[in-house]
């Protein structure tokens, strides 16, 4: 199956490497980064492109754009992995819209467009008779959307709660283990590349809240936006507070929670027993889904990273191939 990919940062490179190194039956026929693009209907030589990107910072010809890639038509699935803009969703939103309009399946890791325009995009995909999949937008490598849609099909999902941000989880783990202050732990997270230079989105709980918006709209059709989430971050947590939790044989984690029946849509630091399944270490993510038949189901895994996000993207691509492309 043929793939066009927009975005060639760490996630894009992770996908390209997996396509190149594993026998997945996938061919990348076009590829764009922010300043250049390459199109080859017979398949791009990925090693060649990776090398060029490393040497010149460009994946292809500066005269070719992402829009040319979308319009090229030489692909079955558009993989959209450009950087997220949580305010406007652009330029990803435009890319996804155009690909869907031209009757192409889309797989994205981009939280902005899915959080902002879930309903409209899904309607557009349905009217073009194509798939839009977004597993990589929530909890990285954890197959959460797949589990909710397929694995738990037939269940009524009554709520969910979990650890949705690896950066915060790392900071809290280090504050607990080593008694580091919040700012020391944040500095360490930055040095290890777990936190952005501007960590606001992570530590203030906004990243976790965006993921809740995606889940609230996709699982329950709640039609909510970021302003509907009650958000408290971890940036005012003290080492003393973690030590006090320890006295109760507990710890503190940043928990995202959705309980539609009680109108709960909330990100906040919470006290959890140390042996609670959501008390995961370092940058891990964990989600407990509450259902009527299966009871509680907890998924734990890596929430970020190049290969991990590539895993979620590739599973979406293969799902589309197996269920929609090869059948038709």
């Amino acid at each position: 199956m043929r793939i066009a990919m927009l975005g060639f940062g760490s996630v894009g490179r992770g996908i390209a490497e997996a396509v190149s190194n594993k026998d997945l039956g996938l061919t990348i026929t076009s590829l764009a980064d922010s300043r250049s693009a390459v199109i080859d209907a017979n398949g791009i030589d990925i090693r060649d492109v990776l090398q060029r990107k490393k040497e010149t910072g460009l994946c292809g010809d500066p005269a070719i754009t992402a829009d040319d890639v979308i319009g090229s038509g030489v692909y079955d699935v558009l993989v959209e992995v450009t950087p997220t803009n949580a305010d406007s969703g652009e330029p990803a939103l435009g890319y996804i819209t155009r690909a869907l309009a031209s009757g192409k399946h889309v797989v994205t890791s981009n939280k902005g467009p899915i959080a902002l325009r879930y309903d409209a995009l899904m309607q557009q995909a349905a009217s073009s008779n194509v798939q839009l999949r977004y597993e990589a937008t929530v909890c990285g490598a954890i197959p959460l959307i797949q589990a909710l849609e397929m694995g738990l099909a037939g269940n009524t999902i009554t709520g969910l709660h979990g650890v949705f941000n690896g950066t915060c989880n790392y900071i809290l783990t280090r504050m607990t283990d080593e008694g580091l202050s919040y700012s020391q732990a944040l500095l360490e997270a930055r040095e290890l590349g777990y936190a952005e230079a501007d960590p606001t989105y992570d530590v203030k709980g906004i990243d976790a809240a965006i993921k809740l918006v995606i889940l609230a709209n996709s699982i329950w059709g709640l039609n909510v936006s970021l302003k509907d989430v009650d958000i408290t971050g971890i940036d005012s947590l003290t080492t003393d507070a973690l030590a006090l939790a320890e006295e109760l044989d507990c710890t503190i984690r940043l928990i995202g929670e959705i309980i539609p029946e009680k109108r709960v849509l909330k990100v906040s630091p919470r006290i959890l027993s140390k042996d609670h399944p959501l008390v995961v270490r370092d940058t891990l993510n964990a989600v407990t889904v509450e259902t009527d038949m299966a009871g509680e189901v907890t998924l734990i895994g890596r929430g970020a990273g190049s290969r991990e996000t590539a895993s979620a993207i590739i599973s979406d691509i293969l799902f589309i191939r197996d269920c929609y492309v090869e059948r038709t």
Partner: protein, 164 residues
């Protein structure tokens, strides 16, 4: 309450059924059977339960008709405990008032308070344990504490589970 009943099959059920019939909520049962007891001896059973006070009399009456003797009825206890952590200027926003507002609400009592004050002008952290008679009242007490904290610009960290 502590009950005395004949050590015979079916007796425990005879004691428990009336409790649920009057809308009581059984929280714990301690039933220690003496291995040396002969059939027909009596056995003591302790039951911890939640029950509207108005139903107590009719429950005791029903139990007696079932051949179950009520040895002792314990006083009402605040059985539900929840701990929350507060962060902020806890002392300087009148800690006494914070505690009073919970205690005077009639919903819960502050049972324990532990506090760490790192330095002047730096936020302190406190662990507050509330006790209450029911989950519903505990929930309302924590709602109240949350409102007081918002007013005083304190961060409340609540437990994830066990609080409806």
């Amino acid at each position: 309450m502590k009950l005395e009943m004949k050590d015979m099959p079916g007796q425990l059920i005879a004691a428990l059924k009336p409790i649920s019939d009057v809308g009581g909520n059984i929280m714990a049962i301690i039933h220690q059977r003496d291995p040396a007891a002969a059939p027909g001896d009596t056995v003591d059973v302790q039951i911890m339960l939640e029950l509207p006070e108005t139903k107590l009399e009719s429950l005791v009456g029903t139990l007696k008709t079932q051949g179950v003797n009520v040895v002792r009825i314990g006083e009402e206890r605040l059985l539900i405990r929840r701990s929350v952590i507060l962060i902020g200027h806890i002392m300087h926003t009148d800690l006494t008032d914070t505690v009073d507002r919970i205690d005077s609400s009639g919903l819960a009592e502050v049972a324990e308070l532990g506090m760490v004050m790192p330095a002047i002008n730096e936020p302190s952290s406190a662990k507050i344990t509330l006790k209450s008679a029911s989950l519903g009242e505990m929930g309302r007490a924590i709602d109240l504490l949350r409102n007081v904290a918002t007013e005083k610009d304190l961060l409340v960290i609540e437990p994830l589970e066990g609080y409806p």
